[in-house]
Structures are given as structure tokens and as C-alpha cells.
């Protein structure tokens, strides 16, 4: 157990303590106990920069299930560290913000912070695990804790709906990923990610490769809310705002991004990967930004914006994977896409985190998040307004904020995709920059909507629940820090490049590096009048134009989206699934015992008949049969006639007497076939049974005593004839197929010699095979006790028979 393991598990350990702290320190907001942990962890992870910036990694292993190759291995490299810093850093800020956001008197703080800690620990586990099974374990824990956090206000129906939806979609993806992990294990024979990366050539050439790739991508796409699995994210906005800021902008939704980045060295040599990741990413980018414009709820705008930005990062990772096509750093013309992905990942976490917190402040201070009710808040909340300006301008890609830089690099990356002359990119590749550019226009549009519709325009006090005023200072600290980072990374982007971005890229594209080499990342504001710059100018100009004339064209939204909504598809699908399964179950679970017997007999018939036919099993061998004698033939006829007559008996009394006749004939058969003990037992037992039948018959209720013949049913007749025929056929084949003799010679020889008896059957029953007899006695005993209890116990008399009522 190393310090690193302790660091990853510490949130889970603290989660155990939280309820006690909450109970015994009622006067202190529980969040304060939490706050030091992510801060300390952040500081702890900062130390690793000195190692990773030189391309080094730290690896620690604790044995878990070694016999299956599952060990709790943690690995800190550039990519893992970047995510760990994001998780702990933003985690600390979110905890601080939540202390002021959540009211200790109204909310159940203990559960909230337990869930949040569970999530934090799980997320750290996801990004630092080197073992795929451990990664999957933590992955599902993030789904689970996110489910709990979305449904935090579980008295609201929308919260429960959102939590269920996100759970269904992310767990679907998680399970697909598990399938991918197992396939990868079949290919490589190891669960270790590092070792899998070494074997990437074998993976790519394996027949299971495409299936594995798709299963992994399903996991990543569902978690990172990629098209068309993005629908859970807007509904997850029912969670408290700190949760939305933390989970649904900065960390959990990036788990899929992390997975794609982590598995890039394994899968990215194929064109399928490049096309799928880049294509789905760019589609998500467009759809998210297009849908964001029509939202009226601030959090919904941010949710779709998150979807869109995640798509952007995803498309960059896909495009950047093309760099592996050349295999050396010199030809790494496409590396810029990966740089942009990593850089935008950081930028997005900073500005989106701060924007969510700003939304929370607006909600907190005015009582609404609806942009139709808001307006003119600039004068009341100047600090919040400033923060919103910084966040949205960065999101829109306006200089000098960090979003501008990543957007420029994004355009560069997309233009490079269009220039690719491999993976068939020369056919449809030109679409990438076009879609990317139009999506950026929409991004600009909703960013401007967010800030200007909220803070400028007409102030409408009558629509607000509270009189707006500036937020308390504690609530502002976290967004201020994040917004400062937006500016710092915007103006001095290269503080990140050597320490953070370059090692992270080293983890994504390891095969391009020689030993000890690192990517030389340099991000500059001004790189001359390039195509990218003109694209940005175009975005701003076109975006302003669209914003100005928005009322004129916004009507298209009312026509398009309701028809093209994946929510409808999801809801209908779920409804249909439930309805169909209910109908299917209802159609065969009729509640009639006859129906179930028909199923059982039909299966019996089908299984045995097909075996007999297809295995050529039916045989008839007459060489070994005993001669037929007159007596026996008479008995056979008596028995057959009485058995068949039961079917046609009009009264039950007749059938009981006929059953008795069959039983006594069986006893006569036992006499003829030299089985005296059987004959005795059969006679006695048949007598008692018939008496019992008569007893049951006597107690028949008067009302329904209409004695009638069994109504003839063709299916019943067919099934019973088939059952009889098959039993006969099997009996004949079995008899004709005897392969070895009986072991009874032993009993004949030793009944007297060893057991001291002369009646072989009795000696077998009590001596050679006495155990059977013992339990047969137990059966009789149980039956007797059961009958006694059935008759004596009358607990339900005079009461409802149904215990549930």
C-alpha cells in the first residue's frame, strides 16, 4: 500500500467518516471537513509534475486478485496527472462553493458529501488505474455516484427521471466497455493498459479488433455524452449546481475523453478509429451547439454547450490520432490536433466550471434560471457579470481568453483533417472544417445569449422571486479563481505547455517519441494572417449577425427539433420496451396450469423426437425379447382397455375405479414377472390410494358437481399421443441397445454369503442399498407430517387468505 494508493482511496475513506462528523459537529457546515482533502491531494499531485514533465511515470501495485491478473495498479503519467489535477483542483473549488451554496438547515449535507467523495475517489481511480478491470470498477462507481447526485433531491420527479436516464445510458456504455475489456484480454492476455499498448500491433491485426474498438467507443461515447447518447446530460441538470459544475462539466463527462485518449495508442492505427472518433465528435459538436441556442434555461444552455465542447475535444482526439499514421515526430503535421484537445480540455474545465457556478449564483440570488425572466442584472451583480463575460467570451473563442487559443488550434486541426490523403479522408474529409466552423458560429451565438440576455436588457423585477443582489464573497471565490485561470491561461498559455500539455501528449502518442524525448509545445497568440484567423473573424461576424436578427429566424427551431429529438426516441423506446415485454409475458404466462403443461410436454416431445430423428437413435432389435404368453396378453389388454376407458368415463367414480383396476393389474403383472414383494406392496398401496381418492371425491363441493366427460381437445389428444409414442420408442430403442450386462450377479451371489439373507430384494433394500430406504422413510414421514399439518392448521380461517392485503 503506497502513498499513491492511499491518495486515491482517501476520498472513499473520508466518506465513511462524514456521517459521524455531520452528526457530532452540527454547528459547522460539513463541507469544511471535506475541503482540506482535495486541496491536499491537489498539492500532492502537483509534486508529480517534476517526474512526468521529463517523460517519467510512477507506478505502484497492490495485489488484488493476482490469480486472474487483476491487480490494483496505479500509474501516474502525463495524461493521468492532468486529469488528477483537474479532479482535485476543481473538486476543492466546488466543495468551497457548495459550502456557501447549500443551506445546512434545509439540505441533507451528510449524504451529499458522501456521494461527492465517492465520486471523487472513483474518478481518481478511473484516471490513475493501469488495470482495465480496476478502471472498469471505478468507472461504474462514477456512474453510480453520479446517479445518486443527480437524484439528490429525490422528492422531485424530474430528478428521479434524470438520474434513471443517466444511469441507464452510462451503465449501458459501461457494460459495453466491459465487453471490450474482455475481448482485449482475449487478444492480449493481459489487463494492464501499459502492456496492452506494447502489443498494439497484434490488437490491430486481430479479427476481434473492430468489435473491441466499437465496444470501447460505446463506453466512451455514452459517458462523454456524445451523439446520440448526449440526451442524459441535459436531464442531469436537475442535480444541485455544484454537482453540475463538477461532474457534468469538468470531470465525469471527461472520463470518456480520458478513455479515448488512453486507448489511442492501442486503437488509433486504424482508419475506423479516426473516422468514428472524429466523425461522432464533430457531429456532437454541431448538434450540441445547434440545440443549445434554443434553450431558455441557463443550465440547459450550459448542458448542451458541454455536449458540444466535448464533441470538439473528441473530434480533435480523432483527428490527432492520424498522427500515428506516419509514426515519427518529424512528419507530425497532425499533432496540433492532440495539443488542441489537451489544451481545450483544461480550458473547458476552467470556463465551464466558472459558468456553472455563475449560473448557480444567479439562481441563488434571483430564484430563477429562465432567461426569459432574467435581464438587466449587470448593475446588481457586477462581479458575477464580469465572471460571466470572461467565461462566455472564452467559450465563444474571443481573444484574449484561453478559449480563443484552443479554438484557433481546433480550426487548424480540422483543416488538417481535410488535407489528409489516407483513411479515405480525401472524400468526405472536407466536411470536417465546414461543420466545425458552423458549429462555432452557434457556439458564439449561445455564448452571447447567455451573458447578454441575463445581464443586459430590461430588468424585470416582477418576474423574480427575490430581489437580486451580489452573491456572498464565499460563493464568489471559486468562480473568481477559475476565471483568473481563464485569463492566465489565455495570456500566458505556455505556463502549461511544458509541464502539463507535453507530458499528457506523450501519454496519448507514445510511439512517436524516442526515449527521453518530449513534444515541443508552443502556443502562440499570433501566427500571422492564416486561414484559421479568418475563420475566427468570420465566426464573430456571422455570429453577431445571427444574434442581431435572432427573432427573425428562430422560428425554424419550433419546426425542426421536436421531430428530431432523441429524447422522444428514448422515451418512446423505453415505453415500448416495457409495454412489449409486458405483453409478451402476458401472452404466455396465462395462469392456467394446462398451458404450462402444454409448454412442458411440447418441449419434451420436440427435444426427444428431434434427438431420435437426427441422431438416428431409434432401433428395434428383437433378438433379446422374452416370449409372449397368453396370461400376459390378457393382462395387457385389460390394462390398456381400463386406462383408455378412464378417458371416456362420464363420472369421476368410474375413473377412480378404473384407476384401481389398472393398479391391481400392475400387481398381477408383478406376480407374473416374479416379483412377490412388489405385488404385495402394490396391492396394499393401491387399496389405500383408491380409498384416498374416494375420500377426495366424496368431499367434492356440491355446487360444481356437474359430472361431465372430459371435453375433447385436439391439441391435448395430439400432445398425449405424441408423448406416449415417444416413450414407447425410447423404451424400444433403449431395450435394443443394451451394451453390457447387469450387475445383479453380484447380488445373487452375495445375498446369503455376505448379508445373511435369502430375499434378495429385501436385502438390497435394507443392506446393500440401505440409504435409499432411509430417505424413502423420511419421505413418508414428511408426507405424513405434511398431511397432518394441512388438516390441522387453520390459520387463515375467518381471515383474508391473501397475506398481502
Amino acid at each position: 500500500m503506497s502513498l499513491l494508493h492511499l491518495a486515491v482511496l482517501s476520498p472513499l475513506l473520508l466518506a465513511i467518516l462524514i456521517p459521524f462528523l455531520h452528526k457530532y459537529f452540527k454547528n459547522i457546515h460539513t463541507g469544511w471537513f471535506l475541503l482540506p482533502l482535495p486541496a491536499v491531494l491537489f498539492a500532492y499531485f502537483l509534486q508529480f509534475i517534476s517526474t512526468t514533465s521529463h517523460g517519467g511515470t510512477v507506478m505502484e501495485t497492490v495485489a488484488w486478485i493476482s490469480s486472474l491478473g487483476i491487480n490494483f495498479t496505479l500509474k501516474v503519467d502525463g495524461l493521468g496527472l492532468l486529469f488528477a489535477l483537474l479532479i482535485t483542483g476543481i473538486g476543492a473549488l466546488v466543495v468551497l462553493y457548495s459550502i456557501y451554496y447549500l443551506n445546512p438547515d434545509k439540505e441533507k449535507l451528510n449524504t451529499f458529501y458522501v456521494y461527492l467523495l465517492l465520486f471523487m475517489g472513483a474518478m481518481l481511480g478511473v484516471v490513475l488505474s493501469d488495470n482495465l478491470i480496476v478502471l472498469y470498477t471505478f468507472w461504474e462507481l462514477t456512474s453510480f455516484s453520479s446517479f445518486l447526485l443527480i437524484g439528490y433531491w429525490n422528492h422531485r420527479e424530474r430528478s428521479r427521471y434524470g438520474a434513471q436516464k443517466s444511469m441507464l445510458i452510462t451503465v449501458f456504455g459501461g457494460l459495453s466497455m466491459l465487453g471490450g475489456i474482455l475481448m482485449l484480454y482475449i487478444i492480449t492476455g493481459t489487463f494492464s493498459i501499459s502492456e496492452t499498448i506494447q502489443m498494439s500491433n497484434e490488437v490491430v491485426n486481430h479479427p476481434l479488433f473492430t468489435a473491441t474498438l466499437i465496444l470501447f467507443l460505446l463506453g466512451a461515447f455514452t459517458k462523454s455524452a456524445q451523439f446520440p447518447f448526449h440526451i442524459w446530460l441535459p436531464d442531469a441538470m436537475e442535480a444541485p449546481t455544484p454537482v453540475s459544475a463538477y461532474l457534468h462539466s469538468a470531470t465525469m463527462v471527461k472520463a470518456g475523453i480520458y478513455l479515448v485518449a488512453r486507448m489511442t495508442p492501442v486503437f488509433a492505427h486504424s482508419g475506423t478509429w479516426v473516422w468514428l472518433v472524429a466523425g461522432v465528435g464533430v457531429l456532437t459538436l454541431f448538434w450540441g451547439s445547434f440545440s443549445a441556442v434554443k434553450q431558455t434555461d441557463l443550465k440547459a444552455i450550459l448542458a448542451f454547450s458541454t455536449v458540444s465542447q466535448l464533441g470538439m475535444i473528441m473530434s480533435l482526439l480523432g483527428a490527432g490520432a492520424a498522427a500515428l499514421h506516419y509514426g515519427t515526430i518529424e512528419d507530425g503535421y497532425y499533432i496540433v490536433a492532440v495539443t488542441a484537445a489537451v489544451f481545450h480540455l483544461i480550458n473547458h474545465a476552467t470556463f465551464k466550471g466558472s459558468l456553472f457556478m455563475v449560473t448557480g449564483i444567479i439562481d441563488h440570488e434571483t430564484g430563477t434560471r429562465d432567461i426569459r425572466k432574467l435581464g438587466g442584472l449587470m448593475n446588481f451583480m457586477p462581479i458575477t457579470f464580469t465572471l460571466a463575460i470572461i467565461g462566455t467570451f472564452s467559450m465563444a473563442g474571443i481573444p484574449p481568453f484561453n478559449g480563443f487559443l484552443s479554438k484557433e488550434m481546433f480550426f487548424t486541426g480540422m483543416l488538417r483533417v481535410a488535407e489528409m490523403d489516407f483513411f479515405n479522408m480525401d472524400t468526405w474529409g472536407i466536411l470536417f472544417p465546414i461543420i466545425a466552423w458552423s458549429a462555432s458560429v452557434f457556439t458564439f451565438l449561445y455564448s452571447m445569449m447567455y451573458v447578454f440576455k441575463t445581464f443586459t436588457g430590461k430588468y424585470q423585477p416582477e418576474k423574480l422571486e427575490k430581489k437580486p443582489h451580489e452573491a456572498p464573497i464565499g460563493m464568489l471565490i471559486s468562480p473568481v479563481i477559475l476565471a483568473s485561470l481563464v485569463i492566465i491561461f489565455g495570456i500566458f498559455p505556455n505556463v502549461l505547455s511544458h509541464n502539463i500539455i507535453s507530458p499528457a501528449m506523450g501519454s496519448i502518442l507514445p510511439s512517436l517519441l524516442e526515449n527521453g524525448e518530449g513534444f515541443d509545445v508552443h502556443i502562440s497568440h499570433w501566427h500571422g494572417p492564416t486561414a484559421e484567423l479568418f475563420m475566427t473573424i468570420g465566426v464573430i461576424a456571422f455570429g453577431l449577425l445571427l444574434y442581431k436578427f435572432m427573432p427573425k429566424w428562430a422560428g425554424i427551431y419550433s419546426k425542426l427539433p421536436s421531430r428530431m429529438s432523441f429524447n422522444r426516441f428514448y422515451d418512446r423506446g423505453l415505453e415500448l420496451l416495457e409495454l412489449t415485454s409486458k405483453n409478451i409475458t402476458k401472452s404466455y404466462m396465462t395462469g392456467f396450469i394446462r398451458t404450462y403443461l402444454v409448454y412442458i410436454f411440447s418441449f419434451f416431445i420436440l427435444a426427444l423426437a428431434s434427438t431420435l430423428i437426427f441422431k438416428n437413435a431409434f432401433q428395434l432389435d428383437l433378438s433379446d425379447v422374452a416370449p409372449i404368453r397368453f396370461f400376459e396378453v390378457v393382462l395387457v389388454l385389460i390394462m390398456a382397455v381400463s386406462a383408455i376407458t378412464i378417458l371416456f368415463a362420464k363420472s369421476r367414480l368410474t375413473s377412480i375405479i378404473l384407476l384401481g383396476a389398472v393398479g391391481y393389474t400392475v400387481a398381477l403383472f408383478f406376480v407374473l414377472f416374479r416379483a412377490p414383494d412388489l405385488a404385495l406392496t402394490q396391492l396394499v398401496i393401491e387399496t389405500v390410494s383408491v380409498a384416498l381418492f374416494l375420500l377426495a371425491f366424496y368431499h367434492l363441493p356440491q355446487i360444481r358437481r356437474n359430472e361431465e366427460r372430459i371435453r375433447f381437445r385436439a391439441t391435448n389428444a395430439l400432445i398425449s399421443i405424441a408423448v406416449g409414442a415417444i416413450v414407447t420408442m425410447i423404451a424400444l430403442s433403449a431395450h435394443s441397445n443394451k451394451t453390457f450386462g447387469s450387475i445383479s450377479e453380484y447380488y445373487v451371489e452375495n445375498t446369503y454369503k455376505k448379508a445373511g439373507g435369502e430375499n434378495m430384494v429385501n436385502v438390497i433394500l435394507v443392506d446393500f442399498r440401505g440409504f435409499d430406504t432411509m430417505f424413502e422413510i423420511a419421505v413418508l414421514g414428511i408426507a405424513a407430517l405434511g398431511i397432518f399439518a394441512m388438516i390441522k392448521l387453520r390459520l387463515t380461517r375467518g381471515r383474508e387468505l391473501d397475506e398481502n392485503k
Binding site: R652, L678, S689, L692, H699, P701, R704, V727, L780, M790
Partner: protein
């Protein structure tokens, strides 16, 4: 003889199945009774119906019939009797409590499907 017995057993199984598929509870139990007769005879027949003395050493015969299937059948008879007796009492109690022996009416209560 075995061929004849196999046919007889087939008839017993056929009638048993037909009775078990009927509506009346009593007929279903009669069906199970026929089914156990069929099974017992099947055991006996498959053991071989060769001539020989009854399995009693006092007979001093040159050959005996196979004693093992007989022991198995004896056990089976006793067990099927125990089960049949229990079934019959269950059926009797069901008549008493529910007032019907029609299987179509014994379907649990409304809303408990």
C-alpha cells in the same frame, strides 16, 4: 414380450398426459397415478423380462430374475404413494377452502396475475 410392454407403457403415458391436461383437479391426480404405474412398469421391463425364479435364494433355482429393478420399483412405489397421498389431501383441502376443483378457476385472485 418387451415390445408389447413398451406399447402398453406408451398407452399409459398417453392417457396420463391427456388426463393431466384436463380441467379437473381429481383427473390430474388420476393422471399422475397412471404416470407412476407407467414408470414402474417401464423400470421392470427395462430390467429385462427373462424367465427365471423369483429373487428368493430358497428357490435354489439355476437363474433368478434381476432383483435390482425390483428394489428400485419398491422404493419408487412408496415415494409415489407418499406424494399422491399428500396431493390428495391438498386437493381435499383446496375443495374445502376454495369450493372448486376446476383448474381454470384456480388462478389466484384478480389483480395478482
Amino acid at each position: 414380450m418387451e415390445i408389447l410392454m413398451a406399447l402398453l407403457i406408451g398407452i399409459l403415458f398417453m392417457t396420463a398426459t391427456y388426463l393431466m391436461l384436463s380441467k379437473s383437479l381429481l383427473r390430474i391426480i388420476i393422471g399422475t397415478g397412471l404416470l407412476s404405474h407407467g414408470a414402474h412398469l417401464l423400470l421392470l421391463t427395462m430390467g429385462g423380462l427373462k424367465r427365471g425364479a423369483a429373487p428368493l435364494l430358497g428357490e435354489h433355482a439355476p437363474s433368478y430374475v434381476d432383483p435390482l429393478p425390483q428394489a428400485l420399483i419398491l422404493t419408487a412405489i412408496v415415494i409415489s404413494f407418499g406424494v399422491t397421498a399428500f396431493f390428495l389431501v391438498v386437493a381435499y383441502r383446496a375443495y374445502q377452502e376454495l369450493g372448486t376443483d376446476n383448474m381454470d378457476r384456480l388462478r389466484g385472485k384478480e389483480g395478482h396475475e
